[in-house]
């Protein structure tokens, strides 16, 4: 459910600034111009947070706060004072009535968001699935690790990705780095001195900007205590050492919900290409199957009616691969697409050995497949019903 934030201020300017500050977050802003209106809106809407000015006509903020705290139905609503009325004694007197925080104007929007984010769960508004990031985006990865070899290993192991890596040695540097630019994902060594990875985790989760940033702990496989501790406190996941790059890549892709379809589906000129990589794991096959119909439909929608299935990278076939290939061919047939297969000698030879695949016609290169489709020749393939 969306959070409701009530801003009570006689200045429309402040109410606009508040509305603007919270715009990137999933919340509704309610407005009132004085204490009387504020109490009425609070009673009707029961907001999750009230931002309250003091100097206002009709009823000032102190009176509204006092009445709010005297009302059993409203007294638990957290209040942040947002006012030009400061001075140590004033602040102390008002704090005693019961406020969660006190911001003296002038104020920075960041400070307001940070303080509000400590009280209510402010979720950033996310883009729709159509705008979701893909594996081709330059994902910003912050690595907090006091062993430079590990940072180097990750950078080297994932250099085939367009991801950008920032390596820092300490949690202090990590905080500065996050302050300068919030990373997309954080990898932190759980073996940093004095359990500082866990302290850092708490600090990052308390900050509205990094509250939802995926954080992975990195620890030696045998250190199950640290792994359990990380899972208990709420780390997004744990990456064990020795590090397997596919493990990091897979976990980051999943945590950021990256669109991986571009690994398997592309369009070249007027051809739609489905390409299976080696190794072709169950996970890969499952991803391809998930995207298949949508991607083919998108291609047809763009006016593409020729497809190539490229499996030349595969070292061998298995039933799961064959099943997926049949599924792809069936999809092309349903949409009246012409298609051709590209494979290597091993694949072609293995296909001859199966009853259902022995009639498949393969081309050895993409160029041959394209030329064949351009000439109007489609693969003569019998697709089982």
């Amino acid at each position: 459910m969306r959070n409701k934030i009530l801003t009570v201020d006689d200045s429309k300017t402040v109410r606009i600034i508040v509305r603007k500050a919270f715009k990137p977050f999933d919340c509704d802003i309610l407005e009132a111009a004085n204490g009387v209106e504020g109490l009425a809106v609070a009673g009707k809407e029961t907001p999750d947070l009230i931002l309250l000015d003091i100097t206002m006509p009709v009823m000032d903020g102190v009176e509204m706060l006092t009445k709010l705290k005297a009302d059993p139905a409203l007294k638990s609503i957290p209040v942040i004072m947002l006012t030009a009325e400061g001075g140590r004694d004033n602040v102390l007197k008002i704090a005693k009535i019961g406020v969660r925080d006190y911001i003296v104007k002038p104020f920075k929007e960041d400070v307001l968001i940070e303080k509000a984010g400590r009280i209510i769960d402010l979720k950033p508004l996310t883009d729709g699935p159509a705008k979701a990031r893909s594996i081709l985006d330059p994902i910003d990865v912050l690595i907090i690790e006091d062993k430079p070899a590990i940072v180097q290993q990750i950078q080297e192991g994932l250099k085939h990705t367009p991801w950008k890596f920032r390596g820092v040695n300490t949690t202090g540097e990590a905080i500065d780095s996050c302050h300068r630019q919030v990373p997309d994902v954080i990898l932190v060594s759980l073996s940093l001195p004095e359990e500082s990875a866990f302290t850092l985790f708490r600090l990052l989760r308390a900050n509205i900007k990094t509250k939802y940033t995926p954080i992975f702990g990195m620890v030696v496989k045998t250190d199950t205590t640290a792994q359990q501790q990380a899972q208990t406190v709420g780390f997004t996941g744990v990456i064990t050492k020795p590090i397997e790059m596919t493990d990091i890549e897979g976990k980051v892709v999943k945590a950021l919900n990256l669109d991986t379809s571009l690994r398997y589906f592309t369009s070249e000129q007027e051809f739609f290409i489905m390409r299976l990589p080696e190794p072709c794991s169950t996970l890969v096959l499952s991803e391809v199957a998930t995207y298949l119909k949508v991607k083919v439909a998108e291609a047809v929608d763009r006016g593409i009616n020729r497809a190539i299935i490229d499996i030349h990278e595969l070292r061998g076939l298995n039933m799961n691969v064959i099943k997926l290939l049949f599924q792809a061919m069936q999809t092309y047939k349903e949409l009246a697409m012409q298609f051709a297969l590209v494979g290597n000698h091993q694949i072609i030879s293995e296909c001859k050995g199966f009853e259902d695949t022995r009639n498949w016609t393969f081309y050895e290169t993409m160029e041959q497949a394209k030329a064949s489709l351009a000439a109007g020749v489609s693969a003569a393939v019998a697709v089982p019903a």
């Binding site: 606009i16 006012t83 030009a84 009325e85 400061g86 001075g87 004694d89 004033n90 104007k105 002038p106």
Partner: protein
């Protein structure tokens, strides 16, 4: 216990307040550009005439308590419109479409924050006081007179009797800001 506030302290407090508000809310640097006078009105301070022909938007906020006073913040209409746009993220056209009301409210809030900063410093010095509600004056060729004067322009404002008056000028983004402070300590 402090019983009086020096002009230096007044100047320092208002300068910090103006700079803080303009930097935090508008990302502008403000530079102190001089003081006009600090005469007791009973001794006959001249009326403040900011600029003869440039339309002004003047925000006013008072403070009452152990220290009492009024502060006028003079901003030219042109600069006021620009500040409004910057503060609210509006284009000049949007500000124009919003009319004087939008500008008045924005300048009112800038004045409220500025006077708040000034009077909070007074509070922490041992003169507890509270802010009053903001009001706005608009026009050109007008003055604020410390006592009844022979020269009257469009209108005048009668300040607190026996108050001390401080007029400070500031430069900001090529414009002139003026703060006119009328205050007295105690009842």
């Amino acid at each position: 216990m402090i019983t009086q506030i020096s002009e230096d302290m007044i100047r320092g407090s208002i300068t910090r307040a103006v700079q803080d508000v303009f930097k935090t809310m508008l990302h502008h640097d403000v530079v102190f550009a001089g003081a006009s006078s600090s005469l007791n009105p009973d001794e006959g301070a001249p009326p403040l005439v900011v600029t003869e022909s440039v339309p002004q938007v003047v925000g006013t906020v008072g403070f009452i308590g152990e220290a009492n006073g009024l502060i006028y913040l003079y901003i030219s209409d042109e600069f006021a419109r620009r500040l409004t746009g910057e503060m609210l993220g509006m284009t000049p056209e949007e500000v124009a479409a919003g009319g004087d009301e939008v500008v008045n409210d924005a300048i009112g809030e800038i004045t409220n924050m500025t006077v708040g900063g000034f009077k909070n410093a007074l509070c922490d010095t041992g003169f507890p006081c509270k802010l009053t509600i903001t009001s706005i004056l608009r026009g050109s060729n007008f003055s604020v007179e410390p006592i009844s004067s022979a020269t009257r322009y469009n209108f005048s404002v009668e300040p607190i009797s026996s108050a001390t008056r401080y007029i400070f000028h500031f430069n900001c983004a090529g414009y002139r800001l003026v703060s006119d402070i009328l205050m007295k300590i105690g009842d």
